[in-house]
Amino acid sequence: MGIETSTLDRSAIHGEEMVLNIGPQHPSTHGVLRLQVLTDGEIVTKITPYIGYLHRCFEKHCENVTYEQVIPYTDRCDYVASMNNNFGYAVAMEELMGIEVPEKVHHIRVIVAELNRIASHHLAIGTFGLDVGAFTPFLYCFRDRERILDLFELLCGARLLYNYIWVGGVSHDFPIGFVEKVYEFLDYFEPKIQEYNDLLTFNKIFIERTADVGVLPADVAISYGVSGPNLRGSGVKWDLRKNEPYSIYNKFEFDIPIGTGAMGTVGDCWDRYYVRIRELEESVKITRQALDQMPREGDVHAALPKKIRPPKGHVYSRTETPRGDLGFYIISDGKPKPFRLKLRSPAFTALSCIDEIARGWMIADVIAILGSLDIVLGEIDR
């Protein structure tokens, strides 16, 4: 594996180097991130990411609150896909406690998680366009994302941090008319994907900027623990919803889009981007099936005591969020508070490989590569 020799060979550099700080306040760092970039002219010779500006001691917090109270904190980790984070935590807790949740809860969870995946991919696609200088796709994405946020507002009153999926169920049932509104949204949204393709995906300049740029080979991606659309962009057909189905994902028909190198090399920025576009279609497919199959009547809570006390033991459970494998390592000592709760964030590992794939490219490419990795700093810093 070529990954073991990643130290910088300084003798290979000719020109005079300049240290450039991209961030902590910079339009394209997607949060408060600082990249210390060593540049030779426009060419980047080394990137050192500095993170932690948004560190909020998530794991320490969790040790001081009860298991139910952790959920609002998980919202704030990946604030773009809060539902999926709630979902991941609920799945981990249910595995630890051995709870079976009602059929209806599974469907509700899948519906909101997939809707939130669409919303999160909207942000990823839009800001990636923004990073390579296309302003309009960003607003198109936000126009459609707005509808999902409206749906969530109808569902749970919040537009960003939902606290909707609870351990053993969801906080409350769908409101009246919600299912019809979701159908309406899906009918509205499906043709819009073509609009993104026309505007951005197959734009010549966009392809020039992203194809062959920032190639992440599959073995390097796996070694770095890169997951989700970034891993699939490298041509690895790996999706926890399919490969290690949790909840009821094994009941649905959908494909796993992977990067094919259609415009350049497998694993370039364009592939990572296009995987997200295709995942929008897949998410629509899953949502439709879940809506069709959802039992209309039933309880939305498993029978649980008021205070959750999981048995002694530990669990490592992972779910597929829009950014990749979200893992929860929970150790319980039988008390109502977690003894140890570790969140394995997909964006954390995705960012850690930036030096590997962006070195040798230009400053403009570093921004594009960073955008294609779709990081959320709230999750990286926790």
């Binding site: 339009p27 426009e42 923004l130 200088g133 302003f135 198109y140 951005l200 300049i205 403009a364």
Partner: protein, 360 residues
């Protein structure tokens, strides 16, 4: 200018004033009116850009109901309000910046744009000075602006600004070559550098139906128009060539550290330059103030209308570019210039020469 002086000398109550004073007065008057034009152009263009971008992005843009604290009907007063805000904004000069250069830079950039307006004919009569070297004068004067950009980048003492300035200088100098070469095709056909000569040469019809504009004159000038216009867009640093101020990479490029009125001067210069590129394309290739139907609607008033109409349309095209295209990368930008535009421009010159030799 001469026309104005002549008019002055005809007015009886000015006859006692020495001619030198009159000359200065006339020059000031022209300068002020040109400045007004540039300022109004920027205000209208900013409003148009906002509205156009808004409609392209499926949103409304600046809006307001009635007059009051709102931005006027349809947000019409938005840019006026912005201009007032910029005027009264605190003037910040970074403590480590090179004060003199920092202050000087926006003015040099602006002067480079402003001085060009002297040579642009708005219609048959409105033209400050019809130089013998008209086109060449405009090319020469627009090259002053680069210095302003470099100084802004250097004087800010900011790495982003420096990168922006270096990109900008490289870009402007490179694209000046295909720009000038495509302009040469027109000059070869006209045989004069005078602006009015160039426009008058485009009078009449060609191929029976089309107006005799140079864009329709022959296939080579047709290509030359596009090279000229695209290079012009690159010259004024607009998307997809806005690398010097690429907000996602370089924060704001060479004007990162500027705010308030100084920043407004950069903006004035940008919109003035946009107008210049649009106007020059209209004059050289689209017949300037000539009516599209030769012989009809070609009074001076109509001339102004046609000229402004063509220029505004081309400005709209630039805005259209900006809100639909992503941005190129530095090396791709240079590659486009040196590997595609430059050879095509040379072929164009050869082609126009041969075309002119054999067919006319």
């Amino acid at each position: 200018m001469e026309l104005l002086l002549q008019k002055f000398s005809e007015v009886s109550f000015l006859s006692g004033i020495p001619s030198a004073l009159l000359f200065v007065f006339a020059a000031t008057l022209i300068a002020v009116s040109l400045f007004m034009f540039v300022a109004v152009n920027a205000i209208v263009a900013v409003y148009a850009e906002r509205k156009i971008s808004a409609f392209m992005q499926d949103r409304l843009g600046p809006m307001g109901q009635g007059v009051g604290l709102h931005a006027g009907k349809w947000g019409l007063l938005q840019t006026v309000a912005d201009a007032i805000k910029l005027l009264i904004k605190e003037d910040i000069i970074p403590s480590l910046a090179d004060r003199k250069l920092f202050i000087l830079a926006p003015f040099i950039l602006f002067i480079g744009a402003f001085i060009v307006f002297v040579g642009i004919p708005f219609n048959q009569h409105i033209l400050v000075a019809d130089f013998n070297i008209g086109v060449f004068y405009i090319i020469a004067m627009s090259s002053i602006g680069v210095i302003g950009i470099i100084l802004a980048g250097y004087g800010s003492n900011n790495k982003w600004a420096l990168y922006g300035a270096m990109r900008s200088a490289a870009q402007i100098i490179s694209y000046e070559i295909p720009l000038a070469l495509s302009l040469l095709t027109v000059i070869m056909l006209v045989g004069s550098l005078k602006m009015q000569d160039i426009i008058i040469a485009q009078h009449g019809l060609i191929w029976g139906i089309l107006p005799n504009w140079f864009i329709f004159n022959n296939p080579f000038t047709f290509i030359a128009f596009f090279i000229f216009f695209i290079s012009g867009v690159a010259e004024v640093n607009r998307t997809p060539f806005d690398l010097p101020e690429a907000e996602s990479e370089l924060v704001a490029g060479f004007h990162t550290e500027y705010s308030g009125m100084r920043w407004a001067f950069f903006f004035l210069a940008e919109y003035a330059n946009m107008f210049i590129v649009a106007a020059m394309s209209a004059i050289l290739f689209l017949g300037g103030w000539q009516s599209p139907i030769p012989g009809y609607m070609d009074s001076p008033a109509w001339g102004l209308f046609w000229f402004m109409g063509k220029a505004i349309f081309l400005i709209f095209v630039m805005m259209w570019f900006r809100w639909t295209f992503p941005r190129l990368r530095t090396d791709q930008l240079m590659q486009m210039c040196w590997k595609y535009f430059l050879p095509i421009s040379f072929i164009n010159i050869l082609g126009v020469g041969l075309w002119d030799l054999w067919l006319n």
